[in-house]
């Protein structure tokens, strides 16, 4: 069996591999900290200071400020950790899906229902 280690080209998809994991380490580490309610509150109290304490780079800081999931992914964010950040803003995976696909949440949900037919 041969293994192709090149990053596969799948439209609309960023595989979270070693390169992305290195790039996004600080951002994902911050998001992982949101498993703690105290840390979520600290973020909400002073977002700038909280992001700075995890050493987010400019692209990561900007993506967090913009609440923009595609930017967060491009900055190395992994969706499972980003879900913890999104949870702070009470956004669920369907809100996130709608934002990434440029649809309303209703249209996104309708698309999923249609996939079952």
């Amino acid at each position: 069996m041969t293994h192709d280690t090149r990053r596969p080209d799948i439209p609309g998809t960023t595989l979270f591999d070693g390169a992305m994991a290195r790039k996004g380490y600080a951002l994902n580490k911050m998001c992982y900290s949101f498993n703690s309610a105290a840390n979520r509150e600290a973020f909400l109290r002073d977002e700038d200071a909280y992001c700075a304490s995890y050493g987010l780079d400019e692209a990561q800081r900007s993506a967090v400020r913009n609440r923009n999931v595609l930017e967060l992914i491009a900055a190395g964010g992994n969706i499972y950790y980003l879900a913890k950040l999104a949870g702070i803003f009470r956004l669920d995976v369907q809100d996130i899906g709608a934002q990434q696909t440029g649809m309303s949440k209703e249209a996104f949900k309708a698309m999923l229902v249609a996939a079952g037919r």
């Binding site: 069996m1 293994h3 192709d4 280690t5 596969p8 799948i10 439209p11 609309g12 998809t13 960023t14 595989l15 979270f16 591999d17 070693g18 994991a21 380490y25 994902n28 580490k29 998001c31 992982y32 949101f34 498993n35 703690s36 309610a37 979520r40 999931v69 595609l70 992914i73 992994n78 969706i79 499972y80 950790y81 980003l82 879900a83 913890k84 999104a86 949870g87 009470r90 669920d92 995976v93 369907q94 996130i96 899906g97 990434q100 696909t101 996104f108 949900k109 698309m111 999923l112 229902v113 996939a115 079952g116």
Partner: protein, 286 residues
């Protein structure tokens, strides 16, 4: 020796936890998924397992990118759930079976599966929700568990082939366990779904149905999909199929399908459950 009664596979979509907490099992949105479980309960009542070996994937509760094992096995007397960050209610703790865990560890490493060994291990919704679906009600769970976490966060992920062979090694180890216990093997996750990117919301019904058929009689067919192929066919998170393949691999006898249920969507996911019975041959039990 241990008796491997069969495997139960199920999706573990977080929205299921919300529905359980709010008592929405009969709600028209959720019911087509929950309706798949009475046949599972009926089978469990006959199979009477004492222990569940659970193949699942941690989503950033116990493991982070600082130390991320490809395969990790719990060896704790108890496993707790905890705050996952986005609001799912924290579930009941589960009793472990350290003796069986260490037996599996000894056998698996001897079998060249170099497991990460965890005497403390938080278990996330990927374990707690299927347990709540199989044994609802919230009281003390009637089975002990041995959790086996598979890396599903960071590529390279373990291949389907490797996952299947891990399951086979677990099956061999269970067959070699002296205690007279009845075991059910769980695989949690899937089926097709994608949460991230412009392709979010991707679902592939035809592929899922093919997988649910092949996993019964021809699991080797599924092991030929590479991870990139699987992402293409099943979505970026559809790769959780690895847990189903591991559970299937652990069935060392003759396998037959008792039950299956498939529904689109729960949240962003094609949600499914299956029961595969393992008929142990008389010679093997002698």
């Amino acid at each position: 020796m241990a008796t491997i009664t069969g495997a139960v596979t199920s999706s573990h979509v977080p929205a299921i936890g919300g529905a359980i907490a709010k008592g929405l099992q009969q709600d028209p949105y959720f019911n087509p998924f929950f309706a798949g479980f009475p046949p599972v309960h009926a089978w469990l009542a006959k199979a009477k397992p004492d222990v569940a070996v659970v193949f699942y994937n941690d989503h950033g509760l116990n493991f982070f990118l600082d130390k991320l094992p490809t395969f990790a096995i719990g060896a704790a007397p108890e496993y707790r759930n905890a705050d996952e960050g986005w609001g799912i209610p924290t579930m009941r703790p589960f009793r472990g079976d350290p003796e069986l865990s260490w037996h599996l560890i000894d056998r698996l490493v001897a079998d060249e599966f170099d497991m990460t060994m965890c005497q403390e291990m938080l278990v996330d919704h990927a374990l707690t929700l299927p347990m709540a679906l199989l044994w609802p009600g919230g009281g003390e769970c009637p089975v002990r568990i041995v959790p086996i976490a598979m890396n599903h966060v960071q590529h390279p992920l373990p291949s389907l082939s490797r996952s299947y062979r891990l399951g086979q090694a677990v099956g061999r180890a269970l067959d070699a366990w002296d205690e007279d216990v009845r075991v059910v093997v769980l695989g949690t996750g899937g089926l097709s779904h994608q949460l991230d990117g412009q392709r979010a919301g991707f679902i592939n019904k035809a592929f899922d149905l093919m997988c649910m058929e092949a996993i019964v009689d021809d699991p080797e067919r599924l092991t030929r999909y590479s991870m990139p192929d699987l992402v293409r066919e099943a979505g970026a998170q559809g790769t959780e199929l690895m847990t189903w393949l591991a559970a299937r691999g652990a069935l060392t006898g003759r396998v037959s399908k008792v039950h299956s249920n498939y529904h689109i969507p729960i949240s962003n996911t094609a949600a499914a459950s299956m029961v595969l019975e393992n008929e142990v041959s008389v010679e093997a039990n002698a």
